[in-house]
């Protein structure tokens, strides 16, 4: 593998994507909303407690229905404190996973479909890079960017979550083991799935917007996870995070394998 060529393409794709408002605006907005705004809003939970009245009983019920491991997290906490821990540690976890998948897919859409749309792909195909090097480089662009945003965002989330909960808990409570599994195991997998899905979507798409819309479907399972957790059907813990990561890695492998069959010079220009 020619790593110099691979990183030249990654550098090019990231530079080009960083100049594209269609790529950068959603990334910046989502990063601010998920990593700063939502965790900071938990500061409002004491106000909700004062206003909620009877509906507090429902929240209490939800918290008591949680598995034993999670119950330990809430032991000795007031309802507001428990709600703060629940929201910041568990409820926002599936939403957090949306960030890498969105970043990966939006950059991959720009890198695969956008390149076709801008007619810059042909010059790349005439270089000495092999099909595999080109494909790996294109995957890496979206994947590395997604992981970088997620990891930087995670650091930001640690700071904001602990700061937002400080008035309630008076201690640093975040992150826990489950979040470390999510960040180190599930996030790389889900970023890979975002890129893999976009490779497949780009083969059918006419351009960046088209690919983005087609590839957006991969976010639906995460929305479902969020609702399952809010409804009390399932909860994120270390085992769930590991298993979920495993399933996503398998799906990622499958989508990348399928994508590698499509991403052949012969096919790209023969259309």
């Amino acid at each position: 593998m020619n790593y110099r060529a691979i990183f030249a393409i990654v550098r090019k794709d990231l530079k080009v994507a960083s100049q594209n408002k269609g790529v950068m605006v959603p990334i910046i907005v989502l990063t601010v909303v998920f990593f700063v705004l939502l965790p900071w809003l938990t500061r409002l939970l004491p106000l909700v407690e004062n206003m909620a009245g009877d509906s507090l009983n429902d929240i209490e019920k939800l918290l008591t229905r949680m598995p034993g491991g999670l119950q330990q997290d809430f032991s000795g906490l007031s309802l507001t404190q428990a709600m703060t821990v629940y929201v910041l540690k568990y409820m926002l976890a599936p939403m957090f996973l949306m960030i890498p998948i969105l970043v990966a897919s939006v950059i991959a859409a720009d890198s695969f479909a956008g390149e076709k749309e801008r007619k810059t792909l042909e010059a790349l195909l005439y270089t000495p890079t092999t099909n595999r090097e080109l494909f790996v480089a294109k995957l890496l662009s979206g994947w590395l960017a997604a992981i970088a945003v997620a990891w930087v965002g995670f650091v930001l989330y640690i700071v904001v979550a602990n700061a937002a909960a400080w008035s309630q808990l008076h201690r640093i409570f975040f992150p826990n083991a489950m979040w470390l599994v999510l960040i180190l195991w599930a996030v790389p997998a889900i970023a890979g799935l975002g890129v893999g899905a976009m490779v497949l979507a780009s083969s059918r798409a006419q351009g960046f917007q088209d690919a983005n819309q087609l590839g957006g479907i991969v976010i639906l399972p995460l929305v479902a996870l969020f609702y399952l957790q809010v409804a009390g059907v399932m909860y994120f813990n270390v085992i769930v995070a590991i298993l979920m990561g495993l399933v996503i890695w398998l799906l990622t492998g499958l989508s990348i394998w399928l994508g590698s069959r499509i991403f052949q010079r012969n096919r790209l220009l023969a259309a």
């Binding site: 020619n2 393409i9 080009v16 801008r118 810059t120 010059a123 270089t127």
Partner: protein
């Protein structure tokens, strides 16, 4: 004996039911500027893609710089440079970024990279705008930058797909000068796809004419004009008031080829059947008391070859 840089044998490429390249066989020799002529959709770009191993043929074989493009594509592409029909530059990047990324892709030694890029930007008169985004460049500037990119790694074989298309005359002249210098001084073989016949006539050592994917003519421009042009334009200068009489005389001659005579710059241009008929035409005019000041046969050119072949094939 000429060393063959490209050898193509019965090369055919289909796109579904459509044949883009049809049983093409030819050779390109080292150091020559080889013109590949044809109308849009004749199969020129497909041939360039095939020769660089970017797409596979349906049948037939090729050998380029001693390599099989299907098997040794990456090694081959490291030795060829391609200027695509559209400049295909990343418009959100600067000229410098565009070139430095491709220098990495072509494996230009890191130690030489800056010097090489600067050298090319200066050569193509882009050095003072090297740090501007390419999106703000004119079409001519983009085309020059694309040519600079194709030359970054000093290719042995340069493919040019409509290199001067859309360029103003000054830029086109500059690019043509560079192409000529690449071939004549630096020994680079140039495979030039064009439908600019005047340019091909001036630059190319040999040309191939392609129609609907098939090779219809191959040779030097002189060979082709001798072989295919069966009519000759002759410029005849005479007094203006004698032109109507002269036209009457000319139209009655068997050597006169159908078509209305043109009259650019005051001289009458008539089309006759062959070079050997000039004395007969002159004699006929003089016998009819036409005072001929000058009679000059015009050089046959590739344009005439091209249209003769096109008319023959289309049955015009």
């Amino acid at each position: 004996m000429n060393t063959s840089v490209i050898t193509i044998n019965q090369l055919t490429r289909y796109f579904k039911e459509t044949v883009a390249v049809d049983n093409l066989s030819l050779e390109v020799h080292a150091g020559e500027i080889f013109g590949f002529l044809g109308h849009n959709g004749a199969g020129k770009t497909t041939t360039v893609r095939l020769l660089n191993g970017v797409i596979d043929p349906t049948s037939g074989s090729m050998c380029v710089l001693g390599l099989d493009p299907q098997i040794d594509g990456p090694a081959l592409r490291a030795r060829t440079g391609v200027l695509t029909e559209t400049p295909s530059m990343d418009e959100r990047l600067t000229a410098w970024d565009n070139l430095s990324i491709f220098a990495d892709l072509y494996g230009v030694p890191r130690a030489d990279m800056k010097v090489r890029i600067h050298e090319l930007l200066t050569e193509f008169d882009l050095a003072d705008r090297a740090n501007e985004k390419v999106g703000g460049y004119s079409k001519g500037m983009k085309q020059r930058l694309a040519l600079a990119r194709a030359l970054l790694h000093k290719p042995e074989l340069l493919f040019l797909d409509e290199a001067t298309s859309g360029l103003d005359p000054v830029s086109a002249h500059h690019v043509n000068g560079l192409i000529e210098r690449m071939a004549r001084r630096e020994g680079c073989t140039v495979f030039m796809c064009t439908h600019n016949l005047v340019e091909a006539q001036r630059l190319c050592d040999r040309v191939a004419i392609l129609e609907h994917g098939q090779l219809v003519a191959l040779g030097t421009p002189t060979e082709l004009t001798r072989q295919y042009v069966r009519r000759l334009d002759v410029e005849v200068e005479m007094a203006d008031e004698q032109i109507p009489i002269a036209l009457g005389v000319l139209r009655s001659l068997p050597q006169f080829v159908l078509g209305e005579p043109a009259k650019p710059n005051g001289a009458l241009v008539v089309t006759i059947n062959k070079h050997e008929s000039i004395p007969d035409v002159l004699a006929a005019l003089v016998q009819n008391h036409i005072r001929v000041y000058r009679m000059a046969p015009q050089e046959a050119n590739l344009e005439q070859v091209y249209f003769t072949l096109h008319e023959e094939r289309e049955g015009v």
